[in-house]
Amino acid sequence: MKGLFILFFIFISIVPVVADVPVRQEQLIYSIMAFNGKDYSGTFCGENSDTIYLIADQDNFITARKTLVYYWPITGDWKTDTSALNYPFEGTLELTEKGRESRIINPERYTFYNIKGEYELNWEVATGDEAEKAWQHYQGLIEQYWQATSQYQQAKTTFDMMMNELAKKITEMRNSGIDVTELVEKLKALKSPEAPQPPDDYIVPPSPVQSAFILNLPRGEYNIRFIDGDDAVLEGSEKRVVVFEKRRADGIGFEVIPGDKWTRPVESKSPSSVLYVDGTTNLYLRPFFQDEFNDLFYQKMVKNDARGNPSLMNWVRIQQVPGARIELTGNNHTSEVLLEEPFYVEQTKGSALGYKIVPFDPEGVHKDRDPSLIAFRVPVNRERSLIKIKLLDKNGLNLASSSRQVRVIIKSRWQPLLFLLCLLPLLAMAVVRIIRSRKYSL
């Protein structure tokens, strides 16, 4: 009996410790690599979802595969477990547009990459043999880099050994009272070999060549289904494809970084929006181009099980505005032009946690470091209650929908007056009642 009780006690103790493993379901999914306006984002359309969302006139990559799908309650997401099961189906995709004939899409080998340019958006897609070439080119660059790295490491080892030997020799000779000037000069003349730089041709290097159905469609609604090798429709493969486009493009948004909370930036996206601040710290702004999409369509394109508002349009950050300037107008209508500057984020000294953003000093205290932030510094304080900002392009021209207001909120000492104003109707009511009662009293 006692043993049974101990066993029961151990069981009770263990139960809460055992993790709750989510139930995995084998499902046919469409794995989607969709272009989201600035990047490629991966998602999947499982059995629970009947629609795939894609941006119009862009290359999107879709594959049909069997995998394990489970719900992860911590983040509230549906996820795939491809390590246990990841079986890609071989066949073709039948695409039907409403009122038109179906067409068959065959899988193609592809890769995509983003090359370095003035803007961040230089995505390129290569298919077929071109994809192989692009991948081989990148592999070649990587190989060259590793060879150079290997040579560098050898040279560095030789250099370090020579340095050590010379240093040892100098110490010994100095201890023996021998003149070491010649050896010291030789030591000074030695130069450390330079480390090779990794290839910087790409911002995002080519992905390994894979095979997928490439969907580049104009705006509209389509239906797809997967046809396997036996010309049979794969059960559960029928999906609706909503292809949408941006409503407006090249709007200007601002990433706003408060001086005391640099890790918590906010975004000002609506062109008529006003930025209210308490005026305790300066603001650091980073302007970006933005496009406007339907909120639901965009969210579901990035992540198929996401939620969004179908009645609203949302601005989406696309890329930074290069070479821009900010024209700043204060209370006294004098304007000044701000330029982008580098800044460094320093942790505040003492026991209190916090940061402060200081100008980057590459020659002084920040030597051999990179700036933490490149932004426009907008000085804000309680004396400047209204600041109007306007973004100019590199030619000094005003960029449309880039105007914003920064307003410093200061609680007025006249607040009680505002409260009394609310009671004005009640006062009016009292006056009317008094007049009425006097008029009709005997």
């Binding site: 930036p265 006003v274 209210y276 601040v277 710290t281 508002n309 609203l312 505002l418 009511m429």
Partner: protein, 289 residues
């Protein structure tokens, strides 16, 4: 026709005078202004170095969480993009609007039931001029309250260095037109039924139906309300004031001002249609209880 208008204007003046004597209108205004005051104070307290953060004030935390949960973060972001005044205006408008429309529905139904309208109909007044008088009263008092609200919000903006925002003016006008439509619906509900209670029930039912459909379209997809409302919405939206309100404001947001004014015209035309329907109903049914 002139007779009818004259009768309507005389009764409307009397009604406005009565409203000014009764405490209800003043209390509704005070409630509306107090709501504005607390919402603006809350907004001011929700500002820190990085801007508006609804988590900083308990009232706004509740509002922010509820709105973001139901309609999504984008909705919340857009609602407060220019400041608090759009939201404040909606909230502050509700008490006076409800007071005016409910009192119209209730009084019309009651007066019809006790035979007061029938009695007047033997004189120079008919049912149409009687309900037109109610309508004129509602419109006049709404304009008065909107003016008061604009003055109050402007004072609040000035004191706190806030900005009413360009969208505020559009909201102000579209809410007025939306109220016009809802007042005509209150009259339609009154003439369709025989008593105050049944008229009130019908009117509340109509408002709730329109609200559910509107909220469904704004609710983030996959919510229960959305799937329920999507079935109804395709028919109901074309007569729903809330639908036109949403449509007008999205036109403004997209920079299509012409569309905004066209929608206002449609709202005015629908108000006229509801009034005409009320006229037909009262003509057929008569004013007897």
């Amino acid at each position: 026709m002139n007779f009818r208008l004259r009768a309507a204007s005389v009764i409307a003046k009397r009604r406005i005078f009565e409203s000014c004597l009764s405490p209800g209108f003043y209390i509704a205004q005070a409630v509306g202004l107090l709501l504005s005051y607390f919402l603006i104070s809350g907004f001011v307290s929700s500002i820190d170095s990085s801007g508006f953060n609804y988590m900083l004030h308990p009232l706004y935390e509740l509002i922010g969480r509820s709105l973001a949960g139901a309609f999504g973060a984008t909705f919340l972001e857009k609602l407060f993009a220019e400041g608090p005044f759009q939201f404040v205006f909606y909230v502050s408008f509700v008490p006076v609007f409800l007071y005016l429309s409910f009192s119209t529905v209730f009084h019309f139904g009651l007066e019809k039931k006790v035979g007061a309208i029938e009695l007047l109909a033997y004189g120079p007044v008919d049912g149409t001029s009687y309900f037109l008088a109610f309508y004129i009263k509602d419109v006049a008092l709404t304009v008065l309250y909107q003016l008061l609200l604009v003055l109050f919000l402007s004072a609040a903006a000035l004191l706190n260095n806030l900005f009413l925002g360009p969208a505020f003016l559009y909201v102000l006008v579209v809410i007025f037109f939306m109220a016009l439509m809802l007042y005509t619906l209150s009259i339609l509900a009154s003439v369709l039924t025989d008593g105050g209670a049944s008229a009130m029930a019908l009117y509340i039912g109509i408002i709730l139906l329109f609200l559910i459909v509107m909220m469904g379209s704004f609710t983030i997809a996959s919510g229960y309300v959305r799937s329920f409302s999507s079935v109804l919405s395709w028919v109901i939206n074309w007569v729903s004031p809330f639908f036109y309100w949403g449509l007008a404001l999205s036109s403004v947001e997209a920079g299509n001002t012409l569309n905004y004014f066209l929608i206002l015209l449609v709202m005015a035309a629908l108000s006229g249609l509801f009034l005409f329907l009320s006229h037909l109903v009262i003509k057929i049914k008569g004013v007897r209880p």
